[in-house]
C-alpha cells in the first residue's frame, strides 16, 4: 500500500509529463518534412561562421538523416529538457514537506522505517521517470511510418537508457534536497541552478564532455560513434546512489 500512496502523491505530475511528452513526440515526427524544407536556410546561416553558425551547421549535418533529426530534435533537445523538468518535479515532496503540510506524523506512526519510506518514494519516482524516458520515444517509432520514415526500437532503448541513468542524478539531487528543506520550491530551484551550471560547464569546457550530464543523457556518442557513454553513465549512477544514501541518512536523523 505504500506504493499506492506514493503513486497517488505523484500521479498528476507523472500524467501531465506523459501527456506533454506524448504531444511533443508527435510534433517532432509530424514537423520533419517542414524542418527539412528549411535546411537550405540553415546552410546559409552556417556559412556566415561564428559560434551560432558552427552550431547551426552541426545541427544541419546531423539532421540530414531522419535518425539524426530525431536525435537532435528529440533526444538532445525536447525530451532531454522536458524530462529533466519532470525529474525535478517528481523529486520534490516527501516526508519533510508533509511535515509542514500534514500527513507526516501519521506516516511516521506506522510500523515502517524511514529508509523504506524513502526507498518506496524514490523507486516510484524512478519508475515513473523510466516510463517517461521510453514510452513517448516509442511513439516516434510507431508514428514514423506515417511520414514514410522509420526509427528503430533499438535506438529508442539505447537513448532511453542513457537519458534515464544519467538524468536520474537530477531526480536524486531533488530527493536529497527535499530531505533538507521543508518546502517544495527550494529543492526544485536549487536543482535547477545546478542543472543550468552543469549545462553551461559542458558548453564552456568541452574537455568535460565525456562526463557531461547532457551529453551523457542524449547518448551523443552512440549516435556518432556507436558506443555508449560508459564513463558518464557510471559516474551518474554512482552520484545518484550517493545522493540517495545521503537522503536516507538525512531523513533518519531528522526530528519531526
Amino acid at each position: 500500500m505504500l506504493w499506492h500512496k506514493a503513486w497517488l502523491e505523484t500521479r498528476w505530475r507523472f500524467l501531465i509529463g506523459m501527456a506533454l511528452l506524448f504531444i511533443m513526440a508527435c510534433s517532432v515526427v509530424l514537423t520533419y518534412h517542414t524542418v527539412q524544407q528549411l535546411m537550405p536556410l540553415a546552410s546559409s546561416v552556417s556559412r556566415q561562421g561564428g559560434a551560432l553558425g558552427r552550431l547551426v551547421g552541426e545541427a544541419a549535418a546531423i539532421e540530414s538523416t531522419y535518425r539524426g533529426y530525431v536525435w537532435w530534435q528529440w533526444f538532445r533537445q525536447n525530451l532531454c529538457q522536458a524530462w529533466v523538468l519532470f525529474a525535478l518535479l517528481l523529486g520534490t515532496g516527501g516526508l519533510t514537506l508533509q511535515g509542514t503540510r500534514g500527513g507526516a506524523l501519521y506516516t511516521l506512526s506506522l510500523p515502517v522505517s524511514r529508509t523504506r519510506l524513502l526507498a518506496v518514494r524514490a523507486s516510484t519516482g524512478l519508475a515513473e521517470l523510466a516510463v517517461l524516458a521510453f514510452i513517448p520515444s516509442g511513439v516516434i517509432t510507431v508514428l514514423s511510418p506515417v511520414i514514410a520514415q522509420s526509427y528503430g526500437v533499438g535506438d529508442v532503448l539505447v537513448h532511453g537508457v542513457c537519458l534515464f541513468l544519467a538524468g536520474s542524478v537530477v531526480f536524486c539531487l531533488t530527493v536529497f534536497l527535499s530531505t533538507h528543506f521543508a518546502d517544495a520550491w527550494t529543492p526544485a530551484l536549487l536543482t535547477l541552478i545546478v542543472v543550468v551550471v552543469l549545462a553551461a560547464a559542458e558548453f564552456v569546457a568541452p574537455a568535460l564532455a565525456p562526463y557531461g550530464l547532457f551529453r551523457t543523457m542524449s547518448g551523443e556518442s552512440y549516435l556518432l560513434h556507436g558506443t555508449l557513454p560508459w564513463a558518464g553513465l557510471i559516474v551518474s549512477v554512482m552520484v545518484s546512489a550517493v545522493l540517495l544514501l545521503a537522503a536516507d541518512r538525512n531523513l533518519r536523523a531528522r526530528d519531526f
Partner: protein
C-alpha cells in the same frame, strides 16, 4: 497488571535551540490504565509523545515502551506495530478517500478489526467515498479515531484528541474511546490541556509544566493527597514558612492564609495551630484546582 509499566520515561531532556522543551521528565504509565497527560500549551506534551513514537530524538534520558527502547530504530518499529496514534492536527492524507485510508492503514496491522471499522464507520456516519480533505474537523477526528481503534493496538497514544472540536463531537469521541477501552485490554495515554476531559476519563495523571512532571500518580491518590488549608486570623495573617512536607503554595491575603499541600493536611494543620488562627478549614481540591495551583505557582 497495574504493576507493569507500558511506558517508562526517565530524566528525558530535549532542547530546541535556546528553548528547553523537556527538562528531566520522569514518569511511568501502568499497563491497562487510562493515563491523562495534562499541561498547558507548549508544556512539552507533544515533544514527549513524538519521542515515544520515534519521531524525535531526545538529547538525554531513557524512554521505554513495552520494555523496548523507543530511541532504537528497530525497537521503535516493533513498538509502532503495537500502538495506535492520533495526532493533535489529525494529520491524514488529504488526497485519499475515507475507504482508501482505511484500506491503507489496515494493510500494516495483521490484527486489524474489520468488523469494528465497519461499525465505527456507521456509528460515526463517515462517507466512504469522500476525500479526507473534504471532511470537517470533527469528522476527520472521528476517522482518526476509527483508524487508531481498529488496529488491535496494545497502547493508544492520543495527542489532544478533542482539540478544536465542539462539545457534542468532543463528547462523542470520548464516549467512543471509553467504550472501546471497556471492551478490550489496552492502555490509553492521552495528552490534553482540557482538565475536564482528563477528570472525566483518566484513572492516572501526570501534570507537566515547562518540560517537567510536577504532579503524577493515580487520580484518586492525587485527589486524596492534595488539600487546601485555609487559616483565618483575627488580624493580618502572619508571614510563615511552613516546615511540613508537600507545601505547594502559600497565599497570604489580609486576614487569610491559604496553604495548598500535596501531602495531606495533618502536618500543616498541626503546625498552623501554633499560629493561633481564628479558624482552620481543610478542603479537598478538584483536578482543576490542583492544576491551577501547581502550574500557576511554577509561573
Amino acid at each position: 497488571m497495574a504493576d507493569r509499566l507500558t511506558i517508562e520515561i526517565t530524566d528525558l531532556r530535549k532542547r530546541y535551540g535556546a528553548v528547553d522543551a523537556l527538562c528531566g521528565l520522569t514518569f511511568g504509565v501502568p499497563a491497562g490504565s487510562i493515563y491523562g497527560f495534562l499541561g498547558r500549551n507548549g508544556a512539552g506534551k507533544t515533544t514527549a509523545i513524538k519521542i515515544l513514537l520515534g519521531m524525535t530524538r531526545p538529547d538525554a534520558g531513557e524512554v521505554r515502551v513495552f520494555g523496548l527502547a523507543a530511541t532504537n530504530e528497530s525497537a521503535s518499529l516493533d513498538i509502532r506495530r503495537r500502538i495506535a496514534f492520533v495526532s493533535e492536527e489529525k494529520d491524514l492524507y488529504d488526497y485519499m478517500t475515507v475507504d482508501e485510508i482505511i484500506r491503507f492503514t489496515s494493510s500494516f496491522y495483521p490484527s486489524w478489526r474489520g468488523d469494528l471499522a465497519a461499525r465505527y464507520r456507521r456509528t460515526f456516519d463517515l462517507p466512504a467515498d469522500r476525500k479526507v480533505k473534504a471532511l470537517s474537523r470533527g469528522t476527520r477526528t472521528k476517522l482518526a479515531l476509527l483508524l487508531s481503534l481498529c488496529r488491535g493496538a496494545e497502547l493508544l497514544i492520543l495527542d489532544e484528541p478533542t482539540s478544536g472540536l465542539d462539545p457534542a463531537v468532543s463528547e462523542e469521541a470520548l464516549q467512543a474511546l471509553v467504550s472501546y477501552v471497556d471492551s478490550v485490554e489496552t492502555t490509553v495515554f492521552f495528552s490534553s490541556h482540557q482538565i475536564a476531559e482528563v477528570d472525566q476519563i483518566a484513572d492516572h495523571v501526570t501534570i507537566i509544566d515547562k518540560g517537567s512532571a510536577i504532579v503524577q500518580g493515580a487520580l484518586d491518590d492525587v485527589r486524596e493527597r492534595y488539600r487546601r488549608v485555609q487559616l483565618v486570623f483575627d488580624g493580618d495573617a502572619p508571614v510563615v514558612a511552613f516546615r511540613a512536607p508537600g507545601v505547594v503554595r502559600v497565599r497570604r491575603e489580609h486576614r487569610m492564609l491559604t496553604v495548598v499541600s500535596s501531602a495531606g493536611a495533618d502536618e500543616i494543620v498541626n503546625e498552623a495551630r501554633a499560629l493561633n488562627p481564628a479558624s482552620v478549614t481543610v478542603s479537598p481540591l478538584t483536578l482543576k484546582d490542583i492544576f491551577l495551583d501547581t502550574v500557576t505557582k511554577e509561573n
